[in-house]
């Protein structure tokens, strides 16, 4: 129970702050920067701790091979095959005292500022242009929050990549290196770039067992010594440190084990989150507030499917192919041999 003391005016203020805290859960008032959680973008509203408020396990609720589950909530998923005119993303929290901005880097390299909605369930929205053309491909969505807390300049970045693509528009983008490879934005203070997230047809390609090459950049330059953590939605995580080129490599674990093979689905989408953290001893002043350190935190979610090796077999394929070839070859040979007749010459004795 909270006891209020002091004069009536002070009590009223405290009550107002308390009500504000209850009504505005997305706004963080953490005093210590170490208590701050990384900023995260998601399709569904997030709790301030970063968990998605869909109220169910996304792995268990994925579509089984036998059909879609009826009457059950499905996790928010984004298809790289279906373009929509407006994209909306949610992020888990923001600090009241910090500056917050959002950017979208379009596939043609242009940058737009999406519409930001702060407060309860903070989110952002931006329009996507319909049809093929220069905006066909990956949109990088960023939320950048920076402010001084406890004499530490904290920069939190959340990144999301959304594919603006329809197979009906064709796949001419496969010939463009800037479209088939993830791009960074030089104006972002701290950024995660994960290579080979999609194939040349703009379809997500990460599977269990992939060795992910993760680059950590600050204003487009590599960052050495950043702690990079990959966490899957099942809770497995691994932390590595970026090298002098800002590169860290993590092998993605296989963590999709359905109870029986009939429940296995090759298009099952697991999710993972890459978090990068880097602290720099650098003093300065930001908007009149002095700081002694800089703390960078960035996140970048993506999805992964089961590896093809989990459900396909070359040996069976080759065996069947060779068997069919041999049986039909032997069949033709036997047929020809059986139709051979010994040469019968007729000699006329004149």
């Amino acid at each position: 129970m909270i006891a209020f003391t002091g004069n009536t005016q002070g009590s009223g203020l405290r009550l107002f702050v308390l009500v504000l805290l209850i009504l505005v859960p997305g706004v963080s008032t953490q005093a210590n920067y170490r208590d701050l959680v990384p900023l995260r973008l998601s399709l569904a509203p997030l709790s301030s701790a970063g968990a998605e408020d869909c109220g169910h396990d996304p792995v268990q609720d994925s579509v089984p091979a036998t059909g879609r589950p009826q009457g059950r909530p499905r996790p928010a998923q984004e298809s790289e095959h279906r373009p929509v005119p407006t994209r909306t993303y949610h992020f888990n929290e923001h600090r009241r005292q910090a500056d917050i901005k959002a950017y979208v880097r379009r596939p043609d390299g242009s940058v737009i500022e999406p519409e930001l909605r702060l407060g309860v369930n903070p989110s952002l929205s931006f329009p996507t242009l319909f049809g093929d053309g220069p905006v066909h491909g990956a949109n990088n969505v960023y939320v950048v929050e920076q402010g001084v807390d406890d004499s530490v300049f904290v920069m939190r970045t959340a990144k999301w990549i959304t594919m603006h693509h329809s197979c009906r528009w064709g796949h001419d983008g496969k010939f463009d290196e800037t479209l088939i490879n993830p791009q960074s934005l030089d104006t972002i203070p701290f950024e995660i770039v994960v290579d080979e997230l999609w194939d040349t047809n703009f379809h997500a390609r990460v599977t269990s067992g992939n060795q992910l090459r993760i680059r950590i950049l600050s204003f487009g330059r590599p960052v050495q010594g950043a702690k990079v953590t990959l966490t899957t939605d099942k809770g497995w995580s691994k932390t590595v440190v970026s090298d002098k080129e800002g590169v860290a490599s993590v092998q993605l674990i296989r963590d999709y084990y359905p109870p029986s093979w009939s429940e296995f689905h090759r298009t099952h989408r697991g999710r993972f989150l890459v978090t990068a953290q880097y602290d720099a001893d650098q003093q300065g002043v930001y908007k009149g507030k002095p700081y002694e350190h800089i703390s960078y935190v960035a996140t970048h979610p993506w999805k992964y499917s089961p590896s093809k090796r989990d459900y396909s077999s070359y040996s069976y394929g080759l065996l069947i192919g060779i068997l069919a070839m041999t049986v039909s070859g032997v069949g033709v040979y036997t047929y020809r041999e059986r139709r051979k007749r010994p040469y019968k010459g007729i000699l006329f004795d004149e």
């Binding site: 091979a65 069947i320 033709v332």
Partner: protein, 328 residues
């Protein structure tokens, strides 16, 4: 007849075709490396499973489109289907069935296998006419299935449950183009059997069995697969509108049978039919070998609208035969 036309009529179309096929093969399988994409509605097996191809076979997109519910098929989406079909017909009408004889990579591979057989001195096989007639119906059955099966994904027939999306591209799953063509770009992934669902498993097993049959069959029978090709059946619907035509003057035909013996597919009507002017049959791949071996001047002709492309002449026939006899 001008001298250029005479020179063309005296050449070996088979030799020209051999080099043209190589160029088309490179274009369709590796065109992507040169940022070439002819189109996604090609009337030939430019397989979508080959990553950096120079164009795509229409059948995959067509099967995908057929999976839409009827309600959507007859709405705005129908326009996209019609545009795709019109593009396919446009490509096809321009060159008629020369797509099969000169461009198709699967046809080219079969021709290479035939060359290998000849080098090895192994004799070829032919079908008897009744067997040929029976087998040539298979491609129409396959064509009907590749339309109806995807339709049963988006629509329920006779109250039966809809099929799942693993049935999406049934012909591609059994087409040797899917398994064989990616091999030329170093992709062996299509040779695997997919155990992720029963449907996928059955289709990939069938696909590998057909691949085995494709190699064995092509080795003993020229253009073995073409007789079963649903693309050939689909093309034939629009063949009458083709701008390139194979024309026969029945009055000049002596029914020597050279054309039938030279025909890789084994179309008997090319020799027997002396009444039809347009002699393109559903199994014809317009390789023009029949013109090459015809000794009767003006009996068989290939024309682009009214423009003569290649014509049988006695002089040309004897020149080619002399060349063959002299080992050229």
């Amino acid at each position: 007849m001008n001298s250029l036309q005479k020179a063309i009529n005296s050449t070996s179309i088979s030799r020209f075709r051999f080099y043209f096929q190589i160029a088309a093969f490179i274009l369709l399988l590796y065109g992507g490396y040169l940022a070439i994409n002819i189109g996604d509605e090609l009337p030939t097996f430019a397989c979508v499973y080959t990553d950096l191809r120079g164009g795509s076979c229409y059948l995959l997109g067509f099967q995908h489109q057929m999976a839409a519910p009827f309600k959507r098929m007859f709405s705005g989406r129908g326009i996209a289907i019609l545009i795709g079909l019109a593009t396919f017909v446009g490509f096809f009408v321009l060159f008629n069935k020369t797509w099969c004889g000169f461009v198709c990579p699967i046809g080219t591979i079969q021709d290479w296998i035939t060359k290998l057989r000849r080098k090895l001195g192994i004799r070829y096989s032919t079908y008897s006419e009744p067997v040929f007639q029976r087998l040539s119906k298979i491609k129409y059955i396959l064509l009907a299935l590749l339309i109806l099966i995807p339709m049963a994904i988006g629509n329920s027939f006779f109250g039966l449950p809809k099929l799942n999306h693993d049935w999406g591209v049934p012909f591609c799953m059994i087409c040797p183009g899917r398994t064989v063509l990616p091999l030329f770009s170093g992709d062996f992934s299509q040779l695997a059997v997919d155990f992720s669902s029963k449907t996928k498993m059955i289709f990939t097993v069938l696909g590998m069995a057909v691949t085995g049959l494709f190699f064995a069959g092509s080795f003993v029978k020229t253009r073995f697969f073409c007789l079963f090709c649903p693309m050939s059946a689909f093309q034939y619907i629009f063949s009458r509108a083709g701008l390139i035509r194979l024309i026969k003057d029945g009055e000049k035909c002596t029914r020597c049978g050279n054309c039938y013996r030279a025909c890789d597919v084994g179309i008997r009507a090319i020799a027997d039919d002396v009444d039809s002017k347009n002699i393109v049959k559903d199994d014809c791949m317009m390789c023009f070998k029949c013109i090459e071996v015809c000794p009767e001047g003006g009996c068989l002709k290939a024309k682009f609208l009214t423009l003569p492309l290649y014509e049988s002449t006695s002089a040309g026939f004897f020149k080619r035969m002399d060349g063959k006899n002299n080992g050229q």
